[in-house]
């Protein structure tokens, strides 16, 4: 079956939300079982005592990128039907900076706070609650940010085109970079003072 099986009409779109529940279960399971329900484990990346975030995040990015290119090469996925997040340079940078501050203060990102709340971490639940307030404030203040929100629009631009290389070559370089980071992470972790958590 050529994917994406919903977008290409192979499977009725009525099934989409059913799949969403199961995909979400896999998502939550993967995050929680890797240790992402613990804010002190997540934040370890920024102090060098636990690089689980780097290892899980980049392994996942590689598996999915390689998998999609491979399925596309085999004719099993129509890449043009995949949703590629459009690029808005300004808001991607400014929004990312704001999220980075929230990350360092709260110790979670939205997905991991859901997982933390699911296993009874009250700090995760409170972070998740805080998000509702933040989203509400942004929505109400939207007119102030509307220009920034839409500025620097490049459409669904792919990063390999910026460097003028093929998606395959970019992904290959990404894999090399990630392996380098994994070794670097192991090296730093060996040097840094252990933290009890």
């Amino acid at each position: 079956m050529i994917g994406p099986i919903i977008s290409s009409g192979l499977v009725s779109s009525a099934w989409d939300n059913v799949f969403a529940v199961f995909l979400g279960m896999g998502f939550g399971f993967a995050l929680e079982s890797s240790g992402f329900s613990s804010s002190r484990k997540i934040i370890g990346t920024f102090f060098g005592y636990d690089f689980v975030v780097v290892k899980v995040f980049f392994t996942a990015a590689i598996v999915a990128s390689l998998g999609l290119l491979y399925l596309s090469y085999m004719g099993l996925v129509d890449y043009s039907l995949l949703y590629i997040q459009p690029t808005f340079i300004t808001s991607a940078i400014v929004g990312g900076i704001i999220m980075g501050i929230g990350f360092a203060m709260g110790g979670f990102c939205p997905g991991t706070s859901v997982c933390a709340a699911a296993v009874g971490r009250i700090d995760g639940l409170v972070f998740f609650g805080g998000m509702f307030i933040g989203v509400f404030l942004f929505s109400e203040a939207f007119p102030l940010f509307e220009n920034m929100y839409y500025s620097g629009s490049l459409g669904p631009k792919m990063i390999n085109s910026v460097f003028g290389i093929s998606p395959e070559l970019f992904t290959f370089l990404l894999v090399l970079m990630a392996i380098g980071m994994f070794y670097g992470a192991g090296w730093v972790q060996g040097k840094v003072k252990k933290i009890d958590y």
């Binding site: 994406p4 099986i5 290409s8 799949f19 969403a20 995909l23 979400g24 279960m25 998502f27 939550g28 399971f29 929680e32 079982s33 890797s34 329900s37 002190r40 689980v52 290892k55 899980v56 996942a60 990015a61 598996v63 999915a64 990128s65 998998g67 399925l71 995949l82 590629i84 997040q85 991607a92 940078i93 929004g95 990312g96 999220m99 501050i101 929230g102 990350f103 360092a104 203060m105 709260g106 110790g107 939205p110 997905g111 859901v114 699911a118 409170v126 972070f127 609650g129 998000m131 509702f132 307030i133 933040g134 989203v135 942004f138 929505s139 939207f142 990063i159 998606p167 933290i195 958590y197």
Partner: protein
């Protein structure tokens, strides 16, 4: 599998965890043609709530009206179902790996109260930023990276780059 020496729970090897996460993400693209997300579910919940209380306000808002109002059904949304699934999946993992426990996790050097205040503020700021960037660590960064989206990479670098600096500023809360 690695045992946590403090609470006796188990963690998967991070590379195995990454392969599972990547496979779920790949399946998500193969089935639904889109990546995983989290903040979008909060956005739709907020839009639905505001729509229930003040429908005219939603109609007039350039932001809410994209997701709610009229015949739009913000809660009947892929991301909302996916996040509900994530809640169940994480709970299941908590049972299997012996991690279900009601507690506030924090550094012994700070109080629970301080931890919760920072968790609330962190969530608030993260939620705000996720709307500006049109996605969070999962929806914009991870899912974007899977399809080599330029914006996904930029958001990822901005989040992690800033968090390295900000974590140092807030280090007394953590180490």
């Amino acid at each position: 599998m690695k045992k946590n020496k403090y609470d006796g729970s188990f963690y998967l090897n991070p590379y195995l965890g990454g392969v599972i996460l990547g496979t779920v993400l790949l399946l998500s693209f193969y089935i639904s043609g889109r990546g995983l997300g989290a903040s979008g579910a909060v956005k739709n919940s907020v839009a639905a709530t505001v729509n229930a209380i003040a429908p005219t306000h939603v109609e007039q808002s350039a932001y809410y009206s994209q997701f709610a109002g009229g015949d739009k059904k913000p809660m009947n949304n892929w991301l909302v179902y996916e996040v509900l699934g994530a809640l169940a999946g994480a709970f299941l993992s908590g049972i299997i790996f012996n991690r279900l426990k009601l507690k506030v996790e924090h550094s012994p050097k700070i109080t629970s109260r301080r931890r919760l205040i920072f968790a609330l503020l962190g969530g608030l700021i993260f939620g705000f930023g996720s709307q500006l960037a049109k996605g969070c660590t999962s929806g914009a960064a991870l899912s974007g990276m899977a399809v080599l989206s330029l914006g996904g990479y930029i958001t990822m670098i901005a989040i992690f780059g800033t968090a390295f600096v900000a974590a140092w500023i807030f280090r007394k809360n953590w180490i």
